[in-house]
Amino acid sequence: MITVTIDGMQVVLQKPVTILEAARQLGIVIPTLCNHESLEPYGGCRLCLVEIEKTPRLQTACTQYVDDGMVIYTGSQAVIEARRSVLEFLLINHPLDCPVCDKAGQCELQDAVAKYGAPAGRFIEDKRNVPENFEDPLIVRNMQRCISCARCIRMCDGVQGASAICMVNRSGKTRVEPFSGGRFDCEYCGNCLTVCPVGALLSKDNRHAYRPWMIDNTVTSVCPFCGVGCCLNIQIRDNAIVRVVPQGSGVGKSLLCNRGRFGCDVVKSSNRLTSPLIRTGEGLRNVTWDEAIGFVVERLVGIKQRYGGTTIGGIASGRCSNEDNYAFQKFFRSALDSNNIDSAAGLSYGPVRRFLEGAIGRACAANDMERISRSRAVLVIGEDPTSVNPVLGLQIRAASRKGIPVITIGHMPGLRLYQAIKLTARPSAETILLRALVSALKTSTEPAGSNSVLDDALRSVRHVSLKEAESMCGISQRRLDEAIVALVGAKDVSIIIGTHLVRREDGHLNLLMIACLAYLLQGRIFIMSESPNDYGLFDMGCHPYALLGAMPSRTGLGVMEMIDAAVSGGLKALYVMGDDIFSVLPDKEHVKAALSALQLLVVQDSFLTETAGMADVVLPVPFWAEQEGSFTNLESKTRQFGKALQGPGKEGWRIISEISKGLGYYMNYNDAAQVRAEIESTASLQKVGADDERARILCAPSELDYQPHEDDGKIVALVDFPLLGQSPEYGCSPTLKLVTREPYVRLGTTLAGHLSIEDGDEVSVSSDMGTLRLHAVIDADLPGSTVMIPRSTGDKGILTLMKWRMNQVTKCPVFDKTEVVISKIPGNQEP
């Protein structure tokens, strides 16, 4: 117990805290500038100086911890004078250009000076002159306003882990500069903008656009760009988003990533749909809502009557709210009598979630993200979490910074500086690697409890020695052993699973091995998810194998099966909600053939996508902040987002209930809250616990033996997940376009050397399916025979090169057999 007296008031504390914290508990405000709740104490600005009895000098409240019996004064004459002088010092070189500074009105320096500063200045010399820097496409630097509090640098270095900026020069010439010179060329999280207390770092996007006090409204929302679902506030003026800022609490706290912060301008994209459209001949024409809905109803009734509901398919989306997805599947199952409901998430997220929940238990992935940085070890499998789910990735970086071992399986450039043990197997050899880990762990750990499916699997899986693993995966035994030691010793392991590992030839076995690892380590599971509502999508039952509260009496078709069925004539109508299936499915020609063969293609979306361009009917819906709804994030936390803007179109659930009404099935919802209420009453029926039947599908015992993989020297293309340029909406964000990389192919040093390719060279990448012209990016960490190409929209992405193959167990298209040939395109000879 520590008793401290501050300004005559006593506070009793359980443990030593800083004077600043102790004062806060008493409601005493001590002004600060360099201090920030997300950052370590710095003690640089000296604004928080306080007087302590029996201590000769004033001390900084942000760094000084209290001692028992300490008597502190925060308002004595000495303190007031020190504060005033610190503020005077801060102002002598400050331009005092508040009238043209975007920060004015919410500037911490301005507020502090107004409250504690001197009435007049005494500095008559010339001020420091640093020209404003506009070289970066997103961030403006005004180093004349900078007060050298280093909050941006500490954020960039110690929290974001991008280490893109630093202090340069000394004394009064000190300023913040990106390492890369004028441009930041960083992760563009913009978290430096959040912490800058003054107008030194500002977003170029809304520069001089408004004053903070001119904001009409602030709406709490959830980020729509990945499965983390960071809590953010949307600031509105004149029915337009002026800025998106982190809420400071809830998911993500005061952190955002580039998409969340800068991507919101997709709402003003020129690609937005504004009116319902119906196909006439080659074109789409504007129609009224009555006409469009009448048309859909008429055609669906006809197809259902003639061919039956099972010839109608629906593709839902993790980009849509729980309300939309719930209404969608209810409409299909009840009004159309069809269980053909799936989504793009069904290609990889779906099987992972379904089988892991089957094997380990429902809601096994419903874990708190903040626990990652408090684990004893972190195992990351699959793709790079710092680009798929950036704010989750920061938790892994935080863990690593604390000395917690981070073991990675797969290529993760964003964790390059943060992975203790890197296990990058050759393509197709992940299965062997995972088996080797399972083999080693099962001899050294005893799983708690029992699990009939996984116990069986563990018994029958063939032992893979570290030596075998070394020869087949190209990872040294020593490193494998280090990984095993790190995992066995840790009683508290977070396992972060990238879903694309199931899109392999042995995807189902990868999944089984991951389940075994999670079982042996009793790990806390996180499933990476690309869309904001992949978790909710499945909870809502937009899945051919499961529905909300129960299993369907018969399973429906998965997304790939629907495409096949459309080509073969078994599927007559397809209703696509919220996703551009062209940008997620491989083999464009096949998809095009499928969509052309349909009698009816309904697309309900906010954007005129390639898929919408082929539709018979297009139904515009508001995008994200233009309506209210809820998303369930990868931690299984459901959060509502408010309506911030007026947007074109009708809410998805409203359109669906109107169509449903036309088919004679009434869903009477007046607002999203009514849909939510129905979801809540139904969700309580959900089944809990492991489900052997679902899990057993994963493995036939014979497969638990393995075929050795030989490295045949062929080059295989895999999907890359760049941090900048991830989500398909991206193409629509003018701001993010400025920092998105040109289409590229990532290749290892050895391969590049072998092909005489240098970084930045233009190369051609060809497969049986097509050829791409891309820029080469050399990446030392990539194994020799692998290249990686992002799945960007348009004709530049890896989907152009991919063949149509399916893993029969997971129903996922297989991605690891895309053999490619790479050659350098001779450019203009340098003089």
Binding site: R46, L49, R57, L58, F89, L90, N169
Partner: protein, 421 residues
């Protein structure tokens, strides 16, 4: 007094390990290795040795703090970032007597249980780099450094780390930051380096001269050492004397000797036998003393009684011809240039003081400038993160206290010329 630190310094081969060993070098190490670690630390305490870097903290006490923490490994750093104007006392040791330092470091490392050591050498001593590196190589060859020192199973690995030229890196926590590859800026204390130092491990940092005293203390014993010089601050002290004396240079003299003896007996008096005006007794960061203070004993306790500090023992002598407001400006410009920029009062305030002084010196001063200057200095004092800004402020205050008239003349001259115009 026989030289201890500058022993054999005039011998042409003084930096050679053979010469050093022939004259009794590394015997103290042998003796120390036969002692218990705690006995060495006790001997240091008995000696009364105070750190020679400037703060004058008891070396034995500092070492005993280090033994309190169980964390390993421990590091021993030698601060050879002698960057303060006027200070060049360590240079003869580094360049002419490197084995004395190395021997001192090995003994210290053994006493502290430190297995790794670095000499943080300022980049402006390029000759010392080669000399130290050769000396370290020779010590390794003679089994004085390495995994099994003199067959005693003791490990100590030593190498030189070159600074990049920042004065602030002589501050121990900034020195550590710099060694870790960070920007050279002081850290918040606590925690102190002795528990959380280099790479977060317990670290003892001592000045070159401090470590060079260690072999003698082991050889002669703490009690004998404590009889040299002032009873409260015993030992020999290196004084680097510069400015208007006839024979500037580095002098090894007993602690407590008066400025008068240093200037007139050892340095031959003031050049051209002019009158003495002022002395900066301990390097540019210590307050200036007017000539009437020169009977003050030079040690850590007596100089503060006269309004200054011993600092590094860099005596800067100014004769009657010197414009003290100009010295003040030069000193302040140095601090402005070297302020690391981390804390507000030092970053902004010292530059402001320099600007006012420059203006006054250029004849552009205003009537209230002296009060303004004093007030700015007052506002810096005590409010900074490390002693750099405090030093700058106290230097300005001392010049204004003792030589205010010279500043006022600057202002009067301006008003005269204004009248004439």
């Amino acid at each position: 007094m026989a030289h201890i630190l500058l022993k054999h310094i005039d011998h042409p081969g003084s930096r050679d390990i053979g010469v050093y060993m022939k004259s009794g070098g590394y015997r103290s190490l042998e003796k120390a290795l036969a002692m218990k670690r705690s006995d060495i630390i006790d001997e240091m305490k008995h000696s009364g040795l105070r750190g020679r870097g400037g703060a004058g903290f008891s070396t034995g006490v500092k070492w005993s703090f280090s033994t309190l923490t169980p964390n390993l490994p421990k590091y021993l750093l030698c601060n050879a970032d002698e960057g303060e104007p006027g200070t060049f006392k360590d240079r003869p040791i580094l360049e002419e007597n490197p084995h004395l330092l190395i021997e001192g470091m090995i003994i210290s490392a053994y006493a502290l249980g430190a297995e790794y050591g670095y000499i943080y050498l300022r980049r402006e001593y390029p000759a010392a780099l080669g000399i130290l590196e050769k000396a370290i190589r020779d010590a390794y060859k003679n089994n004085l450094l390495g995994r099994d020192i003199l067959g005693n199973g003791i490990q100590f690995q030593l190498s030189v780390f070159q600074g990049a030229g920042a004065y602030i890196c002589g501050e121990e926590t900034a020195l550590i930051e710099s060694m870790e590859g960070q920007r050279g800026q002081p850290r918040i204390k606590p925690p102190f380096p002795v528990t959380d130092g280099y790479v977060g491990k317990p670290t003892v940092i001592n000045n070159v001269e401090t470590l060079a005293n260690v072999p003698y203390i082991i050889e002669a014993g703490g009690a004998a050492y404590s009889k040299i010089g002032s009873p409260s601050c015993p030992g020999p002290k290196l004084f680097s004397v510069s400015g208007h004396v006839k024979r500037p240079g580095v002098y090894e003299l007993p602690m407590g000797i008066s400025l008068r003896e240093i200037i007139y007996d050892h340095c031959g008096g003031i050049r051209d036998d002019r009158a003495l005006k002022a002395v900066i007794p301990g390097g540019i960061s210590t307050p200036v003393l007017p000539a009437n203070n020169i009977d003050c004993p030079m040690d850590f306790l007596n100089l503060p009684r006269h309004g200054s500090m011993l600092g590094s023992g860099a005596v800067m002598v100014f004769d009657e011809t010197v414009d003290m407001s100009w010295v003040c400006l030069r000193a302040t410009r140095f601090f402005e240039h070297e302020s690391c920029g981390k804390c507000t009062p030092c970053r902004e305030g010292v530059g402001w003081m320099a600007a006012i002084l420059a203006r006054m010196h250029a004849g552009q001063g205003n009537s209230g400038d002296i009060e303004l200057l004093l007030n700015v200095a007052l506002n810096i004092s005590g409010n900074t993160l490390c002693p750099l800004g405090d030093g700058a402020a106290s230097v300005v205050k001392s010049f204004l206290r003792h030589f205010r008239r010279e500043f006022e003349e600057k202002l009067e001259r301006k008003s005269c010329s204004a009248e004439r115009a």
